[in-house]
Symmetry: C2
Subunit: 202 residues, 2 copies
């Protein structure tokens, strides 16, 4: 997909070259609140900073007042506030980096929100230091290298079947059941009815 914008989340700052490259080559970068501090410290300038401002340094709040968009909504987290902000600009193809690695409940929440963004017609993927999360619905084909590790998390899909994967799929009811599969080809296909989340390890 063509990336229209990258969101830098509130988790650990990326350390793997892949998310770091995505971030440095992004046409438009939105930082979630305090994530902007480290991004700016590294010499970058965000296009927008979104959040309630409680973790943004006073210095950056002043210096970047013109691009800081305070959103106080307690019903959504900073990641979703950034998505809404981009959605309002008509941006639909978005990559999220830096969204995992701190509090595990935040990590789980951030990952699972990809499913909701997909339901709203957005194309949002998450790139971590370890791999890429791709939300999917129904039968879909994914590109890969033979031997890449793949995990599939089921969000209510039925009839799950794989092609080009080492181990058979089933209608997984617990998260761990679809983990640690492996690709055997340069692409793999998941047949299903309904929603699921694919993680492809680098």
């Amino acid at each position: 997909m063509t990336t229209e914008a990258v969101i830098l989340g509130n988790g650990d700052y990326p350390s793997h070259p892949y998310p770091l490259n995505v971030l440095s080559q992004a046409p438009y970068v939105v930082c979630c609140d305090g994530a902007a501090n480290e991004y700016i410290r590294r010499g970058f300038r965000p296009d927008a900073i979104i959040g309630d401002g409680d973790s943004l340094s006073p210095e950056n709040r002043e210096r970047f007042a013109g691009i800081f968009h305070r959103v106080n909504d307690q019903e959504t987290n900073d990641q979703t506030k950034a998505i809404r902000f981009l959605q309002a600009q008509g941006k639909r193809q978005i990559i999220i980096v830096g969204a995992t690695g701190k509090r595990e409940d935040h990590t789980l929440g951030n990952i699972s929100l990809l499913i909701d963004y997909m339901q709203e017609g957005l194309q949002v993927q998450m790139i971590t230091d370890h791999g890429i999360f791709i939300p999917a619905c129904n039968t879909q084909v994914f590109t890969s290298q033979p031997g890449q590790q793949v995990s599939i998390f089921n969000f209510g899909a039925t009839g799950l079947q794989g092609e080009g994967l080492a181990y058979p799929l089933s209608d997984f009811s617990n998260w761990w059941q679809g983990t640690l599969n492996e690709t055997t080809e340069y692409e793999f296909c998941i047949h299903a009815t309904g929603k699921y989340l694919v993680f492809i390890n680098f």
Copy 2:
């Protein structure tokens, strides 16, 4: 609960004092494969090391050959191999530390396995650098400090209702929906029929 054994997982080595204390005061410690390297480097001696041995250093493999239990089963991960090993000794009250913070699919898998262990009659909790994961079934009471952040992940439970929590519960269908709640009392109660996972932030 009284802790009969602690499992040191393959994720990031704990850095918060709480899991570090649990580990240093454990009556019995099982290390998952390569996790033993860092544990031993810090001057501790595990009671057992479980895994396929591929991440244990050659030096430790030789030095601790007497307590290294090689399990080659490809169907389960090292965490579950350690659980099976303890279960065979009649140990039921187990704490897992060091199980999160590396590959996100491993983190998700390890966390969700708590639900399966509970179904087998074991009492297994996970302590991370950020909080504690407690698997639960039906109506249950949890101790807390007022103002602690709590997240609830639903594994098929229905009729979810909270007492002593700031925000109402419902039959959450996506992971993020039960996150970022907050305790208001010294204990809180979750009314439900079925399984769910509670995360209490320190």
